[in-house]
Every structure is written in structure tokens, then in C-alpha cells.
Amino acid sequence: MNRRSLITHRLVGFAVPLLLLLAVALIPYIWILLASFKTRGELISPEPKWVFDPTTINYTEIIYRGFDGYLLNSVIIGFSSTALTVFVGTLAAYGFSRFKIPAGNHLFFYILATRLGPPVAYALPMYLIFRELGLVNTYAGVILAHTTFNLVLVVWMMRSFFDDVPREVEEAAYLDGCGHFRVLWTITIPMTYPGLAAVSIFVLIFSWNELLFALILTGGDTRPLTVMIPSLVLHTGTQWGQVASASIIQSIPVLVFIFFIQKKLVQGLTFGAVKG
């Protein structure tokens, strides 16, 4: 095969299908991105507009709808539940990795079960008890719910990272007279930092993207973005420009993060069942 036909072959055989594949994955998203810069008339035009004069009006209009408040709620819920999940989950993962926990397998199993069932099945029981405790419509309720839901991810992934830390390192520190807490905090955890960072990002994304618990457990001033976006579908008609701009802002942090945790993406999405 000469050089030119080799290049043609590569182009037709790989580059062109690859572009098609990227188009299928991306066009619906690009369409909403374009929509976020359109005027109302362009949004519901019988002739789809691919070229138009961009406007930022939708991004200013969502501010009047209290977008910054919802964004702040998403941030508060996301970061608080991530901190709590990582704290509780990492300790438990270390426990599972290093000690023989009485009935440990059962416990491990119940943590997993919270994630495998339909969230709505756990949302009602939580709603019932949070209503008694006055936690409905507060940050605490939804933060606890997200923490429970994401715990399995932290426990499973951190356990496998702890298993990878050689015991000899810890034993040397014990011989030097360090206590358990000090060994964990100053030696073992720092050795898992890359993994810990990836796990934290996963938990943050899952909380950031979560709808059902947020829908049921928040209200008034505590609703996050995922609840705000579908609320723009009104009986009088949907504010598509606002839906588009809110969706774009909601998804940008996710896009940035997946680029950075790509190596751990498989492991995170399969709760550590598959290693990348």
C-alpha cells in the first residue's frame, strides 16, 4: 500500500466513523448549548436555527429566578455530603481492610444494598422519619440521604486502595511507637491521596447530579439546581432558554472533572468492581 492510500484508508476507516460517533454523543448537548444563546423566537422556530446572533439574555434571566441561590444550595449540599461521606466511608474502609469486623460481611452487604435498590424505596422511609425529626426542607436531611447513598462507593474503592498499601510500612511505624490513629492519618491515608481525590470527585458529582432525594427532602430555600431545572417546565409553557442556560452551568463542572479523573472513571462507575 502506498503512503497516500494508507492515509485515505486511515481517514475513511477510523477518523470519519469516529467523528460520526462523537457527533451522536455530542449533538443533543451542543443543541442545548446553542439554545442557551438564543432568543425566545429562535428557540421555538419551525425552522431549526443552527446559525444565529448569540445573546446572553438567558443567563441573566435565570439570575432573576434565583439561580445563584439554587447554585449555592447545590454547592453546600455537594461539598457537605462529600466531606461526610469521605470521612465516614474512609474510616469504615480502613476498618474493613485491616481488622476482622464481627459480622463484617453482613455490614458490608447492607451498605451495598442501600445503593442497589431503587432510591425511591429508601426515600419514603427517610422522608417519614425526617418529617418527625424536622429535617425535611433542611440541608441536613438531603446531606444525610446523599451520604448514605454514596457510602458504598467510598467504602469499596477506599478499601481496595488500603489493601494496596503494604503492611510493612505500617508495621515499621508501629515499631517506632506510633499509635493506630497516627499511622492511619500520617502514613496510610497520604499513600492513598490520588485514589482519595478521585473518590471525592465521584461522590461530589453524584451528589451534584442527584434528583430524587433532593426533590423529596428539600423545599423552599434549600432546593439545588437539579430540582430547579425541571421546575422551569410550567403549565403556561417551558422557559427553554432558561432551562438551557441552567443545564449548561450545572453540567460544566462535571465535564471539567471527568477529564481529570478519567483514569479512575471505570473503577468509580462500577463501585470498584472493575479496575481501569
Binding site: 481488622f99 442501600t114 425511591v120 417519614l128 457510602l151 499509635g179 447530579n209 425541571p230 453540567s251
Partner: protein, 300 residues
Amino acid sequence: MVQTGSTRTFMWFCMGPVLLLLIIVAVAPVTFAIIDSLRDLSLAMPSKRGQFVALDNYRDLLGTDGNFYRSLGHTAIFMMIAVPIELALGLLIALWINREFAGRRLVLTILMIPTMIAPVVVGMIWRFFLMPSFGVMTVYLNRLGLFEETSVFSGPITAFGALIIIDIWEWTPFIMLIMLAGLSALPQAPIEAATIDGASRWQIFRHVQLPMLGPLIVVAVMLRAIDASKVFDTIYVLTGGGPGNATEVISTFAYRTNFIRWDLGYGAAVCLVLAFASLVVAALFFKTVSGKAKAVDETP
């Protein structure tokens, strides 16, 4: 490890927070739900004030509630159509894209967008894409003569079909990513040997790669099937279970019972039946994964 008395204390320091959390958010709520499922309790109907009715809610649900069984059926059909297609497409794409090329990392990131953005955003994107009359997809489908109506969500079959296609769009990249991880971990020697022996690409896939990928395929399918059985966000946004109840799945059914009709006693029974069913599934998953994942890890 040095065994001292402090080891026990430290173990409880590790496990204490998770136990406390599970009691607050799992044990106590489920106990509450069990009690409520034995009562007639509705926030919308004044006559149902929490009278004790023993197992009546369960009897009505499992015995006579056609809507419950219909939503179970819809969930099963949804799962059985969407997941195999996602597996086939994901595997195909992974086999084809499994090579080195410039910009690989960026390409993979872009391909993962449908899986990683919020499902509620996926729902809104497609709602806009398929909007009646003005949605870009509706317009082009109408023009091509492939579709006559003004909205895909007004017919039961087209609405269900659209939801399945959206699920495939959303989750095929997930399968692709898992398969890609599996393929790159496969030992190259058997593949090279087969190539030297003159095996075709299909033969290599069928007799060399596929058997080695087996355990991973089981894990991927189980994860997807479990997730597909829980589908809620996209349906909530796109059809709300309609038209009629043509796209009602178990999650939207439970949501509607509890948080639209506020029939909490009956709804608690629905949730507990689902939670129990998922415990059984979880047990199966636990068994499979702890076996299969080891097999995957041990591949050099």
C-alpha cells in the same frame, strides 16, 4: 500488626460512624416504614388517619393492584430491550476504538458526556430535542416522513421507544468504558498467537477475546440491569409515566403513590416490597461480583 488493647478501641473508632449513620438513615427509617405500611395513612385523604389495618396494604398491592404489576412489566421490558442493545453497541465501539491515536483522552471524555451529566439534564436535553412541533428532531423526522405526529410523547409506543433510545444514548458509553478497560487488560500473547496462526478478526474476537471478557460482561450487565430497574429522572422529566400510564415504571409508580397521591401507608408497603426485592438482587450481585471481579483482577 502489634496486638494491643488499643486495637479494639481503634477498630470501633473506625466502624462507629458508619454504624451510627446506618442506624439513623437505614434502620430507623425502615422500622418506621414497616409500622406505617400496616396503617391506613394518607396526607391527602382525611379518612385515612393512620388506622391499623394489618396486612391489608400488602394484600391490595400484591393481590389486586394492576398498576403495580403493569409498572413492574414496563420496567422489565425497558430493561430487557435497552440493556442488550447497550451491551452490543458498547462492546462493538470498545473493540473498534481500542487502539492508540492522537487525542484519545479527549475523545473518551467527550464520549462519556451522556453518562456523566445529570440524568435530569439528559431528560431536559431530549425533551427540548423532541419538543412537539418545534423540536429539532421532531422537525427533521417529520420532514423525512419517518414520523407523522407532532410529538413522540403523545403515543404510548413511540413514547416508550423514545425513552429506550434515550437510555441507550445515555448508557452505551458506560459499557464501552468497562469493555475498554477489560480489553486493555487482556494478555496480548494469545491474540498474537492466533494472528500468526491466520485467525480472522472475528475468530479472534469470538474464540480469544470474548471468553476472556466473560466475567467482565457479567459485571457490566448486572450493573446496567440494576440501574435500568431504578430509572426515574429521565422518565420523571420526559413523560411523568404517561401518556396514560404507558411509561410508568416502578420508581415513578412509587413516587406517584407517595408524593403525588400522598398515600403514605400504601406507599410504604410499595417501598418495602421494592426494598426487599432489591435485597435479593443485591445478594446475587454480591455473590457474582466477589467471584467475577477477582477473576478480572487476576488477569495479568
